[in-house]
């Protein structure tokens, strides 16, 4: 009995300790911090060797050589370290991590996630006639007898709303779990700012959000609602929710069977949404299938007026051309996401002045991407080609983390011809500019937010790792602590 009580006390004590430690880190200190390192990549001029960064009140106060250390400052000296701005992923996706109580999730342990479901699904050959789908393989039920499994095996939740094909009035921030483990993994990879982009399962999806990956909860959200995301190509028709019921079993065609099933349909929904918005503005009625929801109209009009930015995801050359054609029709400015075959549209992209958020780089696609038919012609030297064509581009790892995360994307690009300077710029200063955060993030310069990473050596070295990460002047990750 006594030992039991001891164990309980010990466990409680540990929980409390962890908790108070977390508070200590969260509260942090906004006092003056000085970082000394072997080299500082400012992205705002030439690198500074043997430099010092002075941070006060969460912002960078001074950068240079031989700066005086202010009185009482905390000095973080890493004589071999290399400082860069915190990396920025301009097209990140955060796993929704719906709680386990979501009815009957088939996987044991851990939190269910869309990626995991899709990964499990992709790991099995569902076209094999001998293959029998089970809840574990993530397959769809094959007979009405399996119907109780249907609700358990379908990924009925994504972080973008599925009740309509046009939902620009919905916010991605609402579906982001700030406690997601993804943020810790991003931090470990040196990523301090992410733009969380909407899912590609709708033609016109929700509005993305800009977040810091660490620090106090109250300072995590940089911008709640940013660009509207449109998706062209196969994703909206492949990944949207559909009615999985066998013929004659299910209800009559519902909102689940309204989806476009072809590229033609996707393009039609895109055009109809904007034409319907214009009709409403002109005081005319709208009608027909795939009408945008009432609440979507004001946002669509803001996009047309250029007040809300637009992003379009397109992978294949023909989809990129479609994006250029559609935006020309409505005179829209946009940013291209993913752009796997951008190397086949370089003159057109250059002429249209479209910035590209390229990535991820891969030879063999994984996860949900492997389920699409849009991954047969990837090229590792795409970033190099974009750079040579003079197109403004950022690199993204999207849902990939750890060994495939953002810094590895930059390394792969360097391996295929990009210079390290260009690659570093593509994960810091350029994404900051594309997010409208120039001079606030992505550079080491006076006045910018003190989002910094001290790497153990040159950041794009294969053996380099983040030793210290700061966000808004707070140490959020420190090796050895």
């Amino acid at each position: 009995m006594t030992s039991m009580r001891f164990v309980i006390t010990a466990v409680l004590g540990l929980v409390l300790l962890t908790f108070s430690a977390a508070i200590a880190v969260e509260k942090g200190d906004t006092e003056v911090i000085v970082i000394k390192a072997r080299r500082i990549h400012t992205l705002n001029g030439a690198p500074i060797d043997g430099g010092t960064v002075v941070i006060r009140n969460g912002r960078i106060e001074a950068v240079g050589r031989d700066l005086a250390v202010p009185e009482g400052a905390r000095v973080i000296a890493r004589p071999d370290g290399v400082v860069t701005p915190g990396l920025i992923d301009a097209c990140c996706t955060i796993d929704p991590e719906i709680p386990e109580e979501a009815t009957g999730w088939p996987f044991e342990g851990g939190q269910p996630s869309l990626w995991r479901w899709l990964g499990e699904y992709a790991a099995h050959d569902h076209s094999d006639p001998d293959h029998v789908c089970t809840p574990e393989c993530g397959g769809r039920p094959v007979s009405s007898a399996d119907m109780p499994l249907a609700s358990a095996t379908l990924p009925t939740f994504t972080w973008t709303e599925q009740s309509s094909e046009v939902t620009p009035h919905r916010l991605v921030i609402d579906s982001v779990n700030l406690f997601s483990n993804d943020f810790a993994r991003l931090l470990k990879g040196g990523v301090t700012t992410v733009y969380v982009s909407a899912d590609s399962s709708e033609v016109i999806g929700g509005r993305g959000t800009i977040l810091k990956t660490g620090g106090p909860l109250s300072e995590r959200v940089v911008r709640r609602a940013d660009a509207v995301k449109a998706s062209l190509g196969g994703d909206p028709s492949d990944r949207g929710l559909r009615n999985f019921l066998p013929p004659y079993y299910g209800p009559p065609p519902s909102i689940l069977t309204r989806r476009p099933t072809t590229r033609m349909g996707v393009e039609w929904v895109f055009r109809k949404a904007f034409y319907d918005a214009q009709r409403v503005q002109d005081g005319r009625e709208i009608y027909g299938a795939d009408m945008p929801p009432r609440q979507a109209i004001p946002v669509l009009l803001q996009v047309l007026a250029g007040e809300v930015p637009l992003r379009i995801q397109a992978r294949l050359q023909l989809d990129i051309f479609t994006a250029l054609r559609l935006t020309a029709e409505f005179n829209l400015k946009f940013t291209l996401e993913e752009a796997t075959e951008a190397y086949r549209c370089l003159p057109q992209l250059k002429q249209a002045g479209v910035p590209v958020i390229f990535g991820p780089l891969y030879m063999t696609p994984k996860g949900f991407r492997s389920l699409t038919d849009e991954v047969s012609r990837p090229r590792l030297n795409s970033p190099k080609q974009l750079a040579d064509a003079g197109i403004e581009f950022a690199l993204t790892a999207q849902e990939l983390r750890d060994e495939e995360g953002l810094v590895r994307q930059a390394m792969l690009a360097v391996q295929s011809g990009l210079t390290p300077e260009q690659a570093l710029r593509a994960v810091t200063a350029t994404p900051a500019a594309l997010l409208g955060l120039s001079d606030q993030a992505g550079v080491v310069a006076p006045g910018a937010a003190a989002d910094l990473v001290v790497w153990s050596s040159e950041p794009l070295d294969a053996t380099s790792r983040p030793l210290v990460v700061l966000i808004n002047g707070r140490v959020v990750l420190e090796e050895g602590n």
Binding site: I8, V11, L12, V15, T18, F19, A22, I23, P96, I98, P99, E101, A102, T103, L154, T156, F157, T158, W159, T160, E161, Q162, S163, S164, T167, H169, R170, L171, V172, I173, D174, S175, V176, N177, L178, F179, G206, L217, L241, P251, S254, I255, L256, Q295
Partner: protein, 423 residues
């Protein structure tokens, strides 16, 4: 619980069967007259006068409950369990009771306020969620309340006197909760008020593939739209009525109980409360470690549970963590799917995992009463409160303690001795 069949008062017929009693601990027969059908009001008045005079008592509506100790307003077990009841109310606590009153004596026992389950499905007949759309502002759980449900007797015998019947977690706005009692002045379960808190849910059960919303962003977006439309008084997909519970909720006059299992859900609650000036109570929260400090002072309270002995440590420590940071904690039982004693069991599990015992006692009495907006009526043993009293053989948190008797609105609605529970 083998008691229910043999209990004197039958909720089905409403007939009177107060257990045969002897001496001063008996129930005065006068109370029985009050429970006769209304049609016989005149007759009962006559009988009441007759029986009262036959008993020779000056004031037959008054009586004394005598035990060794009682649970005080702070949740502590205090010495001196003397309680004077007049009609439905407590009129005196402690001190010397008037000499000539009948006494219900429970030597060695502890008097506890009637237990309150602030989120339950007790007595529900049929489902507790409409399925066509996720916003159901005018649904009221009172319409699902079956006062003849047998579970109500089991709950009463476990000491649960008050409970809030709530729409379930499958709708964004599920409807209004109904506050009910497992017994009333006539011995039958009753509806206390249909104006309970509004039930909302941010749980994943809200997302359904066959209607809006299908996702978290859809759910929160739809909720904000509903609140904004109500805030500026425009019509939307539904026209707000003057006394619409959602309108009262949007104006901050009505509490909303929001199912928020995860830390992210709780953060969403805080944001909503801040943006729209709402009075919110997150419920079913298991994710305390990351939000307990943030939540403090920003919600009216928090509802934890249900728990049982298989509950993981992460959920079990939640109550203690929230309480330590100053958030009032109420505990919900799992009735009727769990055993009748589950409310008390949940409090004991929470206490074992770090919730201070006085707070654990208050978490199933005073705090839920406060969160339900009936704190001035039930949940405490003090003069002026309704006489809802559970007589435990010991500390209510000690699972060995038995329920000896339960009084609701001044009437002994359950008596273990009469129910054959004597040990």
């Amino acid at each position: 619980m083998r008691s229910s069949g043999s209990i004197g008062v039958s909720p089905v017929t409403g007939s009177i069967g107060v257990p045969p009693v002897t001496g001063s601990i008996g129930v005065p027969p006068v109370r029985s007259c009050l429970s006769l059908p209304i049609m016989a009001v005149a007759l009962s008045a006559v009988v009441l006068l007759m029986t009262a005079s036959a008993n020779g008592q000056a004031d037959s509506a008054r009586r004394v409950l005598q035990a060794a100790a009682y649970v005080d307003a702070e949740g502590q077990i205090a010495k001196g369990g003397v309680l004077v009841i007049d009609g439905e109310k407590i009129v005196q606590l402690g001190g010397d009771p008037p000499a000539d009153l009948p006494v219900d004596a429970y030597p060695g026992a502890v008097l506890c306020p009637g237990l309150i389950d602030c989120h339950s499905a007790l007595g529900a007949l049929g489902g507790l969620s409409e399925r066509q759309q996720a916003v159901q502002p005018r649904v009221n759980a009172r319409d699902a309340f079956d006062r003849y449900a047998r579970q109500l007797r089991l709950a009463l015998a476990a000491g649960v006197t008050t409970f809030a019947l709530a729409p379930d977690d499958r709708n964004l706005i599920g409807g209004q909760m109904a506050i009910c009692q497992t017994a009333g002045p006539d011995g039958r379960p009753r509806l206390l008020t249909n104006a309970g808190p509004l039930k909302l849910s941010l749980s994943a059960q809200t997302f359904r593939p066959d209607r809006d919303p299908t996702s978290r962003s859809g759910a929160l977006g739809l909720l904000r739209e509903t609140l904004e439309v109500l805030g500026v008084g425009q019509s939307s997909s539904f026209a707000p009525l003057g006394d619409d519970p959602v309108a009262a909720f949007a104006a901050g006059r009505l509490t909303g109980f929001v199912t928020a299992p995860g830390g992210a859900d709780v953060l969403a609650c805080l944001q909503l409360a801040q943006d729209y000036g709402l009075r919110l109570v997150p419920i079913h929260t298991v994710d305390a470690r990351r939000v307990a400090e943030t939540v403090a002072g920003r919600v009216a309270g928090i509802v934890i549970g249900p728990f049982d002995l298989t509950t993981g440590q992460r959920a079990a420590v939640a109550a203690g963590l929230f309480a330590r940071h100053g958030t009032p904690v109420a505990i919900a039982g799992g009735l009727p799917t769990s055993p009748p004693d589950s409310l008390r069991l949940a409090a004991a599990v929470a206490a074992r995992a770090g919730l201070a015992p006085p707070a654990a006692r208050r978490a199933i009495t005073a705090v839920p009463a406060e969160l339900l907006g009936i704190g001035d009526r039930v949940g405490e043993l003090s003069a002026g409160h309704q006489a809802d009293v559970v007589v435990f053989s010991g500390d209510p948190l000690d699972l060995r303690s038995r329920v000896l008797a339960v009084y609701v609105a001044g009437r002994r609605a359950y008596w273990a001795q009469a129910a054959g529970e004597q040990r």
